[in-house]
């Protein structure tokens, strides 16, 4: 068969077999509109609850600035940490469903993060911290974790190359690094090894530690968990805050 004819034939058959009823367009739009309206009404209610949390965070930021400028010591930083509420609820969209997750404050010497302790546990390891599913996954599932590691003597741009080289060993199709602003501001590297439900995925964020170093935050999960664990990990990262040094 001629190449062109074949390609036209493929296109034609796809168009012919994917016809739809024009009324469906209006029907789907009405559902979308109603769903958005409903969720916006819910958001307004949540916004009132969040206002209190925002006030506390703003107060903490002022305290941090004051503390670092005057150098009043670790005691002040400890006071700042205390300003982060120990527990709170954060909104989360998992597989299209909106939910509120209870998160708990975890503090290291250099950062704070709110961990979703309903689903995960936070472990302090030698040289890094690890967030893993609260209940160990059955053996047939690949690893799921989020590792937070500080590299105190290399800036993000310097660390990027090392992490890229390391990841390429397991993820030959590693995507080019992307600069992201959400869930956290920095570099993002993503690799997927395959197209099966259990194909390993690695998503690594590299951010500044506010000094001359970096944090490397490595999420490990599998393809089917892209809308589950991956979303929960990113949601926790939105609450990642650095504690400035004196």
């Amino acid at each position: 068969m001629s190449k062109n004819l074949n390609e036209d034939e493929i296109k034609q058959t796809m168009l012919e077999n994917t016809e739809y009823d024009s009324q469906e367009k209006e029907e789907i739009w009405n559902k979308i509109e109603s769903e958005i309206k409903q969720s916006e009404q819910n958001n307004k209610k949540q916004a009132v609850k969040k206002r209190y949390a925002i006030l506390i965070t703003a107060a903490a930021a002022v305290f941090l600035l004051f503390g670092t400028e005057t150098g009043t010591g670790y005691a002040l930083i400890d006071k700042v940490k205390q300003l982060f509420v120990p527990e709170k609820k954060v909104p989360l969209s998992i597989e299209g469903t909106e939910e509120e997750t209870d998160v708990t404050l975890k503090e290291s010497a250099d950062y704070v993060i709110y961990v979703d302790e309903e689903h995960y546990r936070y472990e302090e390891k030698e040289g890094y911290d690890l967030i893993v599913p609260k209940v160990d996954l059955p053996e047939r599932y690949p690893e799921v974790s989020m590792e937070i590691r500080q590299i105190s003597d290399k800036k993000p741009d310097e660390v990027l190359k090392d992490v890229q080289d390391e990841l390429r060993k397991s993820f030959p199709e590693l995507k080019a690094p992307e600069k992201v602003t959400t869930p956290i501001k920095g570099w993002m590297l993503k690799g997927i090894a395959g197209v099966e439900w259990d194909s390993p995925v690695s998503k690594t964020y590299i951010i500044s530690n506010g000094q001359a170093g970096s944090f490397v935050i490595k999420q490990t999960y599998f393809l089917e968990a892209s809308e589950g664990h991956a979303v929960r990990f990113d949601n926790m990262l939105k609450e990642f805050k650095l504690i400035p040094k004196e």
Partner: protein, 178 residues
């Protein structure tokens, strides 16, 4: 991204609902067709497209405007199609397990031509790139961005997908040259 689309997205981010409706009107036709082809099920396709637009609306602030919009949109659409298909498969399993008598003639089967049937019989790794290329009209680079796969891999999969189609059609059409 075209200037008009960029403006549209900025308007939506600014809370303009009419701009979101415009975006819907622009992308509905090809989005719907793609969802039908990917899911092979019109009802699932409708749900997937609906969820996709809702996700786009909610997550538009995280979309990087320096990148083309469509691969981002279709990545969400394909993820939604896959997610709903899995859900559907679980429900079907449950229903099937509960049914004692199943009359297959109760569920209408759509009639497709040989070529479309052959396309739909391919594995997703070949089927999805072919749908995005020939139905959506994406370039290989757009498909690579959308499916988060290396562009050379996409080229190979398109090539192999077409080879497999040719073989399948040869078999279906009784060995005559196609």
């Amino acid at each position: 991204m075209e200037l008009n689309e960029k403006k549209l997205i900025q308007d939506i981010l600014g809370g303009d609902k009419a701009a979101f409706k415009k975006l819907y009107d622009i992308h509905f036709n090809q989005g719907m067709r793609t969802a039908i082809a990917i899911t092979r099920d019109r009802e699932v396709a409708k749900d997937a497209l609906q969820e996709t637009f809702i996700r786009v609306y909610r997550n538009l602030s995280s979309y990087d405007e320096s990148q083309p919009f469509e691969p981002w949109f279709y990545r969400i659409l394909i993820n939604e199609c896959n997610r709903l298909l899995k859900k559907e498969a679980k429900i079907k399993q449950l229903v099937q397990a509960q049914k004692t008598e199943v009359n297959s003639s109760n569920s209408p089967k759509e009639e497709y031509d040989d070529l479309y049937e052959a396309i739909q019989s391919l594995k997703d790794m070949y089927r999805h790139p072919l749908i995005l290329k020939y139905l959506k009209g994406f370039t290989e680079r757009d498909i690579a961005t959308c499916l988060e796969i290396n562009v050379n891999t996409i080229k190979t999969r398109l090539l192999k997908g077409r080879e497999k189609l040719r073989k399948l059609l040869n078999e279906k059409r009784g060995g005559q040259h196609v």
